[in-house]
């Protein structure tokens, strides 16, 4: 059964869309990530114009992060103060991102930029995660329990920055500059790539800000919710590229898939799960890198310029 997408202006099998939503939702439920980094390339692959895919993906992430953030809110696992700081940076970043996106689109280089950014991000993050989780696995199986991690924290560059503020919920006393900067960069990337940015934000919060693990996911979802809401609004207002029919179809599939994924995820051990996520992230990165370097099937490409 075909469904016509009024903004993307093509008709696509509705079960394909629901299946994509459920599949990506399933994976994101298992691993606890938004899955935008998987969904956007897939949408482009099935023929959705990249501009529409990116903007609509942001709209879908709102739904998944809203339901996640709500659950964490009830458990009081959100550092609101940190979330707001990340959000201020993120909002500025998202405004810049949407403008950059429009500019690159008129140059005809948006696809290249999106692919390059994905390759760089996915291989760096995936690689770091893999190293980290393989180390954790080795410790687990070799039983090297005696090496205490960071017996005394070293004084780092971050600790020397001015404008320090106390974050009660996270038990931190750090400068406001790193959260603002992190929020800004992730916000800009999120707007240009149509992702929530959770898979960048989570490691950054843990390794750079050293936030405790129990508030990291909730706080990240909290800021993703607002940044993607802003991105969706800006994309809709400036580029008219948000397809609500596509977004709602993906949301329905995603919600169902995520529930099954989350149930399976609870039964799997954490280290294996993280190794799995690292491999998945790396796999998508390698695939995109391969596509960039391999001979294109058509040496020409049409870029629609006239606004209909």
């Amino acid at each position: 059964m075909q469904i016509y997408l009024p903004i993307a202006e093509i008709s696509i099998n509705i079960f394909l869309l629901l299946g994509l939503g459920a599949g990506v939702g399933f994976l994101s439920g298992i691993f606890g990530v938004g899955g935008g980094f998987l969904m956007t390339p897939l949408l482009i692959f099935i023929g959705i114009p990249p501009a529409v895919a990116v903007s609509t993906q942001a709209n879908q992430v709102i739904a998944s992060s809203a339901s996640g953030a709500l659950t964490h809110w009830r458990r009081q696992a959100i550092d609101i103060k940190m979330g707001l700081l990340l959000l201020i940076g993120g909002s500025l970043g998202s405004v810049l991102g949407v403008f950059l996106f429009t500019w690159l689109r008129t140059l005809g280089q948006i696809d290249l930029f999106v692919s390059l950014a994905y390759v760089a991000l996915l291989s760096i993050i995936g690689g770091l995660m893999l190293v980290e989780s393989v180390n954790a696995l080795r410790k687990k199986f070799l039983g090297k329990g005696d090496d205490k991690a960071n017996p005394r924290r070293k004084r780092r560059l971050i600790d020397r920055l001015p404008f320090k503020v106390r974050f009660a919920r996270s038990g931190l006393y750090i400068s406001v500059i790193p959260p603002l900067f992190m929020g800004f960069s992730v916000g800009a990337l999120a707007a240009m790539l149509g992702i929530g940015g959770g898979f960048i934000m989570l490691p950054a919060m843990i390794y750079i800000l050293r936030m405790p693990a129990n508030v990291v996911v909730g706080t990240s979802l909290f800021q993703i919710l607002f940044v993607t809401a802003l991105t969706t609004y800006l994309q809709a207002a400036q580029n008219q590229t948000v397809d609500i029919v596509l977004a709602l179809t993906l949301i329905v599939g995603g919600v169902i898939g995520a529930q099954f994924g989350a149930r399976l995820g609870q039964r799997l051990p954490a280290e294996e799960l993280r190794t799995g996520l690292a491999l998945l992230v790396l796999g998508v990165g390698v695939k995109l890198a391969w596509d960039l370097g391999s001979e294109p099937s058509d040496m020409f490409e049409i870029i629609q310029t006239g606004v209909k």
Binding site: I10, A66, G108, Q109, L234, A236, Q240, A247, F300
Partner: protein, 273 residues
């Protein structure tokens, strides 16, 4: 039902044609005349739109054996750019954009026989019949010069490369079913009745379409007839599209609220279980 309808409409067409031809006997005698109609003059794109099949049917007065019919359908025109992929630092990058002006978003030719067998090159080129004969204007790359004493010669900066760009345009649009050529797509029934099948793909652009019917004799078009087709979004699809373009700020807010609501609903539903 469809067939009966078609036949009655054809009969009506023929009778009007006959009377039209019979009326002015003294006037400049025309070799042939065409009447034609589409099975639907408006194609509405709704949520279940998966492309549409249209039948263009008609009659030719003065049809002779050996005559050929070609039907050309053009969709709404827009500007676009074609870029060539080039390899640098190991990756393929879009380079060398060429802007084409007023390119038809849909172009279909159906004919009784392969085009080159029924019309001369110049006749096909003049009427833009056939994928190779579509006029593609790239204003930035061409200028008018005087060459060998001939004024206003159109010269392309790209030289022979422009051919590759033109071919690419037809090829890429062809993959989406938007540029099609179907020799044998027109069937002559009998006594000058003909019908052509047209396929509008799922990616059909909305707008005004023009269908031209040509009658070819001895390599030249001797009669033609133009009819119109309107492809438009209808129902909810139209409402959403219009809303997104006329009230982008409100539309953006609604998208955000709907998604937040969906997320909240999902959290509630699955919490109870």
């Amino acid at each position: 039902m469809m067939r009966a309808l078609l036949l009655t409409s054809l009969l009506i067409l023929i009778s009007t044609l006959n009377s039209a031809l019979a009326a002015p006997p003294d006037e400049l005698e025309r070799e042939a005349d065409i009447v034609a109609a589409l099975s639907q003059t408006t194609v509405e794109i709704r949520s279940n739109f998966a492309g549409a099949d249209l039948i263009l049917f008609g009659a030719i007065a003065g049809f002779q054996d050996g005559d050929d019919v070609a039907v050309v359908v053009r969709g709404p025109a827009s500007d676009l750019r074609v870029m060539r992929k080039e390899r640098s630092f190991g990756i393929w990058i879009n380079r060398a954009p060429v802007r084409f002006e007023e390119v038809s978003g849909y172009y279909a030719v159906a004919s009784t026989r392969p085009l080159k067998d029924m019309g001369t090159f110049s006749a096909l080129r003049r009427n833009q019949i056939g994928r190779d004969h579509v006029r593609l204007n790239a204003p930035e790359t061409q200028r008018r010069e005087t060459r060998f004493g001939v004024r206003d010669v159109l010269v392309s900066d790209l030289g022979s490369e422009i051919v590759d760009y033109r071919e690419a345009l037809g090829r890429i649009k062809g993959r989406a079913g938007l540029y099609v050529e179907t020799p044998g797509g027109v069937t002559i029934l009998e006594g000058g009745l003909f019908q052509a099948r047209l396929r509008l793909p799922p990616a059909t652009p909305v707008g005004d379409y023009v269908a031209d019917v040509y009658l070819f004799r001895a390599g030249q078009p001797i009669a033609s007839r133009q009819i119109y087709l309107d492809v438009r979004k209808a129902g909810l699809e139209r409402a959403i599209y219009d809303h997104a373009h006329n009230h982008p700020h409100l539309y953006g807010l609604i998208c955000v609220l709907l998604a937040v609501f969906a997320g909240w609903a999902a959290a509630e539903i699955f919490r109870r279980r």
